[in-house]
Amino acid sequence: MTYYQKQVQHLRLRCFPNQALVNRLIKAKQLIDTQFAEALPLETLAREAHLSPFYFIRLFRLCYGTTPHQYLTTVRIREAKRLLLTGHSMTDTCFIIGFSSITSFSALFKKHTGQAPSAFQKKAILKKAAD
């Protein structure tokens, strides 16, 4: 067994001693991955993991380094980028990924990517044309 394998084994036992519990968090995370466009309140996600909301947030952060809400936002923005790059309008994209307000979608998109959705899309189109 290599030094690295020993370290992996040691850290797994120290940081993730209960794999059954981790599996429940994985299930909740996968719900975000597949149902990100739906309303996913914290209670729904916590119920998926059979945990109280408070304990769920704490364990999710320990596993994934981010809160469930932050992760959901990341997944939605990633999908928004994909839709914008494949020619969807900003309005369509906003509603497809589960936002109900274009203003809040646009602001959040800019916060995460540094550009407004329209600027992001325009830049991508110009780059494609130049290539």
Binding site: T2, Q19, V22, K127
Partner: protein, 128 residues
């Protein structure tokens, strides 16, 4: 300021180009002759405009020492994300790739480590 490049020391650039394109499935992005070596980069097929992996020669002796120490300890020089670790593991095994660590769980992550034949251990991982 942007992160566009990730450097990877390789002890044979030609062999590395073959392994990273033909075996792993990356595509060559840039190749510029630089004396006895080349500026050589590859990118993921799904992300041709993504981060470029620079296949950098280990001409500087201390770099060879560093690379060898990592290799001997089984420590991955870098890691690549995959969609399905078990499928990728089977595909690479069938292609003759040698793994120093078979698929294992690490919390919510599934990972494995293989030899890139150019002096490095490389980790692949899937976030579950």
């Amino acid at each position: 300021m942007k992160i566009r490049l990730k450097s990877l020391l390789v002890n044979d650039q030609e062999k590395a180009l073959q392994f990273y394109t033909e075996t792993l499935g990356f595509i060559k992005k840039t190749e510029i002759p630089m004396g006895e070596h080349r500026w050589l980069t590859v990118v993921a097929r799904e992300e041709p405009d993504g981060v470029e992996l620079v296949l950098e020669p280990t001409a500087f002796p201390p770099a060879q020492t560093f690379q060898q120490a990592l290799f001997d300890a089984g420590i991955p020089y870098t890691a690549f994300e995959v969609d399905n670790l078990d499928e990728e593991y089977e595909r690479l095994l069938a292609a003759g790739v040698v793994f120093s660590m078979p698929p294992a769980m690490m919390g919510p992550t599934r990972l494995a480590v293989f030899n890139d034949t150019c002096g490095n251990n490389i980790q692949i991982y899937q976030m579950l």
